[in-house]
């Protein structure tokens, strides 16, 4: 009932662990799978170890809404290669999120992760608090990078989209044209918090990316828009806390959803989402969650406002 397919990846639940959340150690990733996730996306892995920004680097600013600027802290692909091997012992769908500082290093990291045995690559071209976002705001760069990696990669390639652009559709089409097998929409939204007492930005980096409840309506709109123009599947990402959020993403056109920030409520929220999704589908007599995909598009929306 909850089975979905993204490219050639068969998932037993449409819930995917979002990149950047708990994706460091095989043991915490296994816990997320045991809780019922269909796949795992790792933290973004780069060519060399990187500590990222100092703390404060993640905190809650409104209930269920977080700001972060981790700055792509990661152990580097060589160290992480062994973690990939360990994760693969448990045999669940693994998506390794990667980034590089040049097109060549993107490719190198992607191929090494593939060699480690992962099932798909997600390229991070959109981290709002790191320089790699410069690719994700440019459709030509996006196209060239995706094409370059896709040419050499045997496993599916996903592209995580940057919402901090004028037209996300233009970038998504470039990714699709370059050969991307799916897009993940959206990465966090560029944002900032200044403390009025000390008069300083609180994040060590100053600004960061917003995730969680507050960004869901923004992400839903992006998924809705993308569904109209893309042929490849969309993984909805942003503010999924319960089964209703998953249903909403599917109605907008998502083929799966990524869950991240909500895990501060505990890993077992995933099993609750799965259970409640099944109840929803049964009550509404849908045989599969795929049957509700894009349904919101069957309703006409008003294009021109009324005048007196």
């Amino acid at each position: 009932m909850l089975n979905v397919k993204i490219s050639n990846l068969k998932l037993k639940s449409p819930i995917i662990l979002a990149s950047g959340i708990l994706g460091v150690s095989f043991s915490s990733m296994k816990r997320v799978i045991d809780a019922g996730a269909g796949a795992i996306t790792t933290k973004s892995i780069g060519p060399i170890p990187r500590k990222g920004y100092k703390n404060p680097s993640i905190f809650e600013i409104l209930p269920g809404t977080f700001i972060n600027s981790v700055g792509l802290g990661n152990p580097g692909i060589e160290e992480f290669y062994h973690e990939i091997r360990k994760i693969k012992e448990y045999n669940f769908p693994l998506i390794v999120s990667i980034f590089g500082d040049t097109f060549d290093s993107y490719l190198k990291v992607a191929l090494r992760a593939e060699e480690g045995g992962c099932d798909a690559i997600e390229i991070n071209i959109s981290c709002p608090h790191a320089k790699v976002s410069s690719i994700g705001i440019n459709s030509e760069l996006t196209y060239s990078l995706v094409q370059k990696i896709k040419k050499e990669l045997k496993i599916p390639l996903f592209v995580k989209l940057n919402p901090n652009v004028t037209d996300i559709c233009e970038i998504a089409l470039a990714a699709e044209k370059g050969g991307a097998d799916a897009v993940v929409a959206i990465n966090t939204i560029a944002s900032m918090v200044i403390d009025i007492n000390t008069k300083r930005p609180i994040l060590s980096h100053g600004s960061g990316g917003l995730s969680g409840k507050a960004i869901k309506p923004i992400s839903i709109k992006k998924v809705y828009d993308l569904y109209r123009i893309l042929k490849i599947p969309i993984i909805g990402c942003g503010g999924v806390y319960d089964w209703k959020d998953v249903v909403e993403y599917f109605l907008a056109g998502a083929s799966a959803v990524a869950v991240g920030t909500a895990l501060h409520k505990g890993i077992d929220i995933i099993s609750k989402i799965n259970e409640n999704l099944i109840l929803f589908l049964q009550e509404n007599e849908y045989k599969s969650i795929n049957n509700i995909k894009g349904l919101a598009h069957s309703y006409k929306t008003q294009e021109v406002p009324d005048f007196d």
Binding site: V24, F59, E60
Partner: protein, 273 residues
């Protein structure tokens, strides 16, 4: 949520150790063993055990100068701002049965969460023994001894014998329980915080003797609330910030990283010390 608050008092505890008191939103009530993330503006943000709490009056942390961040924190003065997130994590489980034989065993700055625990135990009428150890006299963290705790319940030891008994906390503990019957051992609860190697040895003794033990662990963390994954303990994937920082002996037995490994800011696994 982060609360930006003014420090209301700074207390000198011993060499390189200070306690810092501040007020938080009155609706928040901490439990012993929980921690908070402390932001030192312009410097860093670090997890700290809650070492003191007086309802409607103050919260306290006790900091030992170890690096740049703890130095900056210890040098703050009354009226300076800090940011506080929490209380976070689980807490020391206090037994319903007041006849349990309770030990609080702290090494060095590990005494911080035990101090808060001791005042709560005292408040609810539990009797207990404290074993406090340090390398030498001037490093013994008395943590402005809770005024309602009788000194006779406290055993001190130092590695060099400059104060109290010469030797380690574990030796004192072993000595005390050596006369315990099997029933008494089963009826014993140990709460500990300190160098992880000390806690590892202590947990081995407790598991062997069928004593219940709760240990407070510390790891590098960014979020403090189950997102960043840096504090994950292999191979169970338990998170120090969310499933901990307090772990029971049965769990500790299965955690291979206990007493051995932690992750640095990049997520690389490194040796604890």
């Amino acid at each position: 949520m982060i609360q930006i608050v003014k420090i209301i008092r700074v207390i000198d505890e011993c060499k390189d150790v200070k306690s810092i008191l501040f007020k938080l939103d009155k609706s928040l009530i901490p439990k012993p063993g929980q921690f908070i993330m402390i932001w030192i503006p312009g410097i860093d943000e670090i997890p700290m055990s809650i070492s003191d709490y007086k309802k409607d009056e103050y919260w306290g942390i006790t900091v030992k100068i170890i690096g740049e961040c703890t130095k900056a924190l210890a040098n703050l003065e009354e009226g300076d701002y800090i940011g506080v997130r929490g209380p976070l994590g689980n807490s020391f489980k206090i037994p319903e049965d007041k006849d349990k034989k309770i030990f609080l065993i702290g090494g060095g700055i590990g005494l911080a969460p035990l101090r808060f625990l001791s005042s709560e135990l005292k408040k609810y009428g539990y009797s207990f023994k404290m074993i406090i150890g340090a390398k030498k006299e001037n490093e013994l963290v008395l943590v402005h001894k809770p005024d309602n705790i009788e000194i006779s319940y406290i055993h001190y030891c130092t590695d060099d014998g400059s104060y109290g008994q010469k030797g380690f906390t574990i030796e004192i503990f072993k000595e005390i329980i050596s006369s315990f019957s099997l029933d008494e051992l089963k009826n014993t609860i140990v709460y500990t915080c300190g160098p992880e190697i000390m806690m590892l040895k202590l947990s081995e003794i407790c598991i062997k003797k069928d004593i219940t033990l709760y240990a407070s662990l510390e790891r590098i963390m960014r979020c403090g609330c189950g997102l960043c994954g840096l504090c994950a303990l292999d191979p169970l994937g338990l998170l120090v910030c969310k499933d901990g920082p307090i772990f029971k002996s049965e769990e500790l037995k299965k955690i291979k990283d206990f007493g051995k490994n932690k992750r640095d800011f990049s997520g690389r696994k490194i040796n604890l010390n």
